[in-house]
Symmetry: C2
Subunit: 301 residues, 2 copies
Amino acid sequence: MNMEFLSQYKLYLDAINDALEKEFSVPDLAQKQVFEAMRYGVLGGGKRIRPVLTMAVSDMLGGSRADALRVGCAVECIHSYSLIHDDLPCMDDDDLRRGRPTCHKVFPENIALLAGDGLLNRAFELLSDKRPYERMRADAVLAVIRAVSGASGAYGMIGGQVIDLSCENRTDVTLPLLQELHAKKTGALIRVSALCGCLCAGILDETDKKYQKILQFSAKLGLAFQIKDDILDVIGKEDVIGKPVGSDAKSHKNTFVTLMGQEAAEKELQRLTEEAKAALSGMEDTAFLLSFAEYLLNREY
Amino acid sequence: MNMEFLSQYKLYLDAINDALEKEFSVPDLAQKQVFEAMRYGVLGGGKRIRPVLTMAVSDMLGGSRADALRVGCAVECIHSYSLIHDDLPCMDDDDLRRGRPTCHKVFPENIALLAGDGLLNRAFELLSDKRPYERMRADAVLAVIRAVSGASGAYGMIGGQVIDLSCENRTDVTLPLLQELHAKKTGALIRVSALCGCLCAGILDETDKKYQKILQFSAKLGLAFQIKDDILDVIGKEDVIGKPVGSDAKSHKNTFVTLMGQEAAEKELQRLTEEAKAALSGMEDTAFLLSFAEYLLNREY
């Protein structure tokens, strides 16, 4: 990986983590505990792919970095809420997330539920609060709220979570259904993160060529991201229990690896990454995004 | 109750129920079930106090009825989501709501969770989607989103839910804490419903006299509403099991009735209703709101 990319990525990461750190201080209120749980959920590290995409696209297209940071943090709030709710006992019932106990293992389950609600809600508080934007006008902020709420709602991410639940332990899941699942569950928020970069830079017209290129780029990137996750999941599980996911007699897991086979999944990952990069052809200042696609392709966690 | 008030209330109710009915049709998508659960949650009847307040205040101040209906429906989405999440096993674990099985009794628990998320999210989709407003400009819509998200979040309604959980089975809950709990848990959304009527009518300045009067009115009304609920709760329970809530050895429930005694609670309810009405003095066209306060005072469910 080239040093210029890595130092730029670190710059974005530091800005995002600092902003979230400040945004999620814990006020001394009777309901203090839910703020602690929200903070725990949002400050658990991670690659911050979504706000990085918002900032990088906005930078590339000449948007204000402060505005893009604020919008990116709002998207990260939504991502963080979805992880807390996904981990709850009635959902995936996970004890660990990024190597730490999940929110409902550290806090009571009802506080974790409400912390998730609070983070979803906070995204819209953050986007609409009275702090002035550096450059975005009210119509651009409304366009961001429209895009983000559309991507995270029942037509988008929540819809994908529902499809995911409906696929559990089914052996008849087709590749198109799996693609639809992930285009919604993880894809919608990744696409909107990048598109918000356009909105931050004043490109509000969805038929604009640049908007369309960023949409193509992020759609391919989002799917590639999920396939990579599935591949890493197999490797991780093989390390631990010596057999790939899906061979467990107790449950059938539907992933790109179990449906396509590992070799085909690797090829598809390569192909999608190339297509994502190709989608940016004809645009200027694409170096960071091109390297970011490579970075996500080669990541080891 | 005077007929003019009742026919106006019915007019609002019909408009709200029709709008929600249309808004929550079920699209033929793979995640169809979550739309069904959202529809179930939002179309369960109820007094629609919040959107009625938005519409009545907006009407009184000369706002567009179509705009106020849209904003009111968004607030009702948030109210409906909060009921679904409140009823979940890890929260109040309720089987019945308004005489019907709760959402998680009709749908799987994880679908109910996601339907709640979907409804919270939908409020912001509804406020920001591309359908043009009749009169509200982007800055007024943003002010609505700011007010609504502020009222429903961790500083508002969610905060109240957390305080409520922390008060469970405690015997040292003070009247000021109970008041804070309800000012947040039910009060915040009732206040913002009325204040959104101001925003719909173009009153965006929080120091405006009319805005301040509506704030006073709705703050008193919200607290009175909760006290009435507590009184009705005792009567309901007495009817069924012959003894008031709180005398049950299994649990200590903190309500205005258990903390103040029934007689003092009735007096406080009367006093707050009078104060709410008095807050509107000097304003024009207050007939509906004055009758609405009386209606809520005298309601039997």
